[in-house]
């Protein structure tokens, strides 16, 4: 059997890091990080922390750090496909108000 036995110390450290990050993200939400102008800064900070937490869980609690490359590929595929779904959907929603001007090279449609 080649299963890694992870030392308890590492689990405790990851657990502590997760709690600290949770505290950090809650604390950050009380401050207006964009200075009232950039409304998305808070969101970026909160999501960055969430991604870090998820990464810790995946790598250590779920043992991906010690897993075969195939598992990495599947984890990566899951995340990648989710980004495709979100990304291409947003590409539509966020550009709907852009009304195209008549192309400059023209079509000569007028009689």
């Amino acid at each position: 059997m080649t299963h890694t036995i992870v030392p308890t110390r590492i689990y405790v450290q990851v657990f502590a890091a997760l709690l600290v990050l949770t505290a950090l993200t809650v604390a950050a939400s009380f401050f207006d990080l964009g200075g009232g102008r950039l409304h998305y800064v808070n969101a970026v900070v909160a999501l960055t922390i969430a991604v870090s937490k998820a990464t810790l869980v995946v790598l250590y609690f779920m043992h991906v750090r010690w897993s075969s490359r195939m598992i990495w590929v599947f984890v990566g595929a899951g995340v990648f496909w989710l980004l495709i779904l979100i990304g291409l959907t947003l590409s539509d929603v966020l550009t709907r108000q852009w009304i195209p001007a008549l192309p400059p090279w023209g079509l000569g449609l007028k009689p």
């Binding site: 595929a77 590409s91 539509d92 852009w98």
Partner: protein, 538 residues
Amino acid sequence: MSTALGDRHENYLNVDSSVKSWLLTTDHKRIAILYLLAATLFFLVGSVFAGLIRLNLMTPYGDLVQAETYNKLFTMHGITMIFFFLIPSIPAVLGNFLIPMMIGAKDVAFPRLNLLSWYVYILGGTFTLVAATLGGVDTGWTFYAPYSTVYANTNVIVTALGIFITGFSSILTGLNFIVTIHKLRAPGMKWSRLPLFVWAHYATSLIMVLGTPVIAITLLLVALERGLHLGIFDPALGGDPILFQDLFWFYSHPAVYIMILPSMGVVSELIACFSRKRIFGYEFVAASSLAIAILGFLVWGHHMFVSGQSVYAGMVFSLLSFLVAIPSAIKVFNWTATMYKGSIAYDAPMLYAMGFIGLFTIGGLTGLFLATLGADVHVHDTYFVIAHFHYIMVGGAMMGYLGGIHFWWPKMSGRLYPEAWSRAAGLILFVGFNLTFFPQFILGFLGMPRRYHVYPPEFQVLNVMSSAGATILGVGYLIPLIYLLWSLRYGPPAGPNPWGAKGLEWETPSPPPTQNFEKTPIVTEEAYAYAPTEAEVG
């Protein structure tokens, strides 16, 4: 070839004939037979709906059925054929039967899960059929919001839940295949030696696993919206109905590849066997399956070019749609090149394979019209689209399925079917199919919209042609049903390898024993090693 063995040996069919042994079986071959029976049943139900649709469209005035009934007919036709026949057909029947044998395994990785998938499929199907009998559903198989969530007065919730449930069957089958192909290959069965049928099913399984959950959550939301008025897709409550289309097509476009990729896998096997040649450009055909599976997820927006989607997103989706056409083209070219300087036999499966190439080529090329932005605007939601996807789904997927059934029938049943009848049926199907669906391309150019119960009289000539073709098509489907059943009792024993084909599944008796192989095979050669050995050339 040993024909004397016949049915004498103990095999998966005669090992235990009690009903209980079938309903509780975990043998992938028996589960495949269970799927075959259920899928055939759903196909017959779906065909009856199709027949009534064509009958109604013989006249422009909707003389046969009321508008409500007609709308339910095309909805149930689409739902039954897509979710309950085409999607499970090749993977769950032929894939289940063959993948473990082709890779030299005794079963799939999770046999009990495999049986569960079948029960889940039957449960989902029952839900939908119950909904159909209790008044039907009239949203179209696409369930577009807000019609499905607010305005339809039919059994939308039950039907949506039925499809939701069946989705899990598809997910579990895909999961099972992925793990099986990764972990259960016989010694020496490297990825580069896998039959293309297995490659195609690997790609298909990826789509099932990555796409199906999205349709599941989407239809669950439709049911919740109807029941609880969540408002997520309802503009009256702040929602956006276009987002339903995004999520729906994120699955439903790749779902077309769930139907066609396995069929392409079948055709690769058939062309190689009946040309007695290794597939030309094996690596390219294998890689193109994966490319289709991946690129297929990036093109869903081409179903929404006139939906009010952003013009710029439309351009991105159009460009990506053209990219997914390339791997399909590569496959067609490679199959054709395989026939070059081959030794071609005209057995029934090969006729289906050649029919597939022809019809799929037309289906694929007309897909380009729909990917081209300016052209799609005109033909979108007209009969052109109907014709296009029937060329892919019936001309492509169905031809491949029938070709595969004919090819592996001797393996599954241990019997041969009458050759002359099978060739005649293949030709009748080809003629009937083209007569049914080619006129619909022209109807689409002329502007006849889809899902019309009545239509302006100038479209009648073409509609009558189409309905006439459907009659021939129906006869073409009935003939194989009859002679295949006939062969179960009267067909001569097939022997392990009636076609002289290569592949592990042909090295075991027909029908195969429960464990597939006497002992685990050890693979030492490439797939399709039809070439003469050194000694033979000598």
